[in-house]
Symmetry: C2
Subunit: 317 residues, 2 copies
């Protein structure tokens, strides 16, 4: 069942004490370059560095007292592992995180630093799900999916809700799409709080399963994704896809070089650090000038957790 | 003559339409790491990307009507060239910028983009000064020194003034020191508007002329500076040194690795882009825990104009 306007409003109030209301940045030079008026919602400044903190916080806050006693569990190699660990810590409950054995050491340490229990598994989806299953059976912890959970989707939608409240009369909001939680939440927020605002997504050409799914009218899982935007290599889910199908106007696919160019523009002009996945929305706006030209465009910058040691890959020369 | 409190107040009002009031950022993790409470004044978000915009704007605004007709001139290979060009453009007057022939092409293009006239010269200080002299004789333009000019010093001081107004009861303010304009302005602001706040500076060990000058009681010019903090390779001047001598508590020298570590912390934890010179103040705070521990410390982040292509130098591995 699709959540209501009131559900989203309540989600926003519920998580307010546990998240940052992130700033909205603008740049005269990026306006000049794009021809549009751009408003960047900076989730790279969110707690633990990404919008995932919103969904994780909301899911944890919605647990019953009984569920809270037993804690939460998820499998993730990335931002959601840290987000759920920190959200659980803030609520004083346990978190069990199943992480692939090849996950970056720094991410594992961050999760441990938030007091979560890390359970290693083989680096493939089947192993992750099997190990998670065992953890849930043993501990009774509540499984929180990183994106295909209505509590998570509502949490992610609060970023667009804040943006809409701060910047009225947006013609467009553009978000990146990976596993669909952020995009579905963004679509919900626009539908209920700014119905004239059209929601688009940017997606890497090398992982264009959401673009394909929208055209097929059913979920096409991603296969062999190839993109620098490591947060967007995942597939949609049955909870978020119906919302995306209903309220997302279209998905714009961008090439790797377009992602890198947009990433560089954000770093150089906004002077902020975002991860490659965050640059996909701006890349889409720069690509489709016919669509966005001279409009007021909100752009969700999804996060800023990037390995500075790998920077030379992005910006050599 | 040392400017008065009213001079600084007027400077702040005069330049307000031409600059950004930059945000002050905080970070729980950087507080934890430093043991202090840190407040970062983000001049990397300033127009053209650095605090220099303040001093340049103020100098231009203080010109007489007659001077404005003839325009302004300076020699600079860096941020001040861009700052003066943009400030002149905003005031609708001409700017002549003497730039060494080896200045980065991107910087030259930025200056030309602001409508200034660029005059090439040999890449050494004598040539710069000689060419500038000729330009001034020919055009009658007013020479604005990048740091050793009381109008510029007052402009730079408005960053600390804004910080003091936004964050009361600072125990310390720490700024980087290069040619002394920012540090002198910061010292003035603290002296007049928050006299209990102690002003310190951070300086690279490989360009420690200000540290030496403070100890000798007279200006010791920098010789053969070696530091990644390219904005801090210059010497103090006779306008700013008396202010620094009077009101700066001390200068803390930091090693290159300490600068790089602080730079990385700012990028990773604050998720913002700053140039190496900006990291020197944080490096000083992290080095002298006995001085700053558990205090409220304002840190001036001087700018964010960095060559992303050269990033691999900073963050390899």
């Amino acid at each position: 069942m699709i959540p209501t306007k009131e559900d989203l409003e309540r989600a926003s109030k519920r998580i307010a004490p546990f998240i940052h209301q992130t700033p909205v940045l603008t740049s005269q030079s990026l306006n000049r370059i794009s021809g549009a008026r751009l408003f960047f919602k900076c989730e790279n400044f969110q707690k633990m560095g990404a919008f995932k903190m919103r969904g994780a916080s909301h899911a944890v806050q919605r647990l019953s007292a009984k569920e809270k006693e037993r804690g939460v569990a998820t499998h993730s190699s990335g931002n959601f592992a840290q987000a759920l660990s920190l959200a659980a810590k803030s609520a004083g409950i346990k978190a069990y995180i199943v992480m692939p054995s090849n996950a970056p050491k720094v991410k594992k340490e961050a999760v441990l630093g938030y007091g979560a229990e890390v359970i290693d598994c083989e680096p493939n989806l089947q192993a992750r799900e099997a190990v998670l299953e065992k953890v849930v059976q043993k501990t009774g912890a509540a499984f929180i999916h990183p994106s295909n959970d209505m509590r998570v989707i509502l949490g992610q939608g609060t970023a667009a809700l804040e943006l809409i409240r701060e910047v009225p009369n947006l013609d467009f909001i553009v978000a990146p799409v990976g596993s669909g939680g952020l995009l579905a939440g963004t679509a919900l927020a626009a539908h209920y709080f700014s119905p004239d605002t059209k929601v688009f997504a940017g997606e890497p050409m090398g992982a264009d399963d959401a673009w394909q799914s929208l055209r097929a009218g059913k979920i096409i899982p991603v296969s062999n994704p190839k993109t620098i935007a490591d947060g967007l290599r995942t597939s949609l889910g049955d909870q978020n896809f119906p919302i995306i199908k209903k309220w997302v106007r279209d998905i714009i696919r961008v090439e790797e070089q377009e992602i890198l160019d947009a990433l560089r523009l954000i770093w150089e002009r906004l002077k902020i650090i975002v991860e490659p996945s965050s640059a996909v929305a701006l890349a889409a706006v720069l690509k489709e000038r016919d669509v966005f030209g001279e409009s007021r465009v909100g752009i969700i910058l999804s996060g800023g957790n990037v390995d500075l040691g790998a920077l030379s890959t992005y910006f050599s020369g």
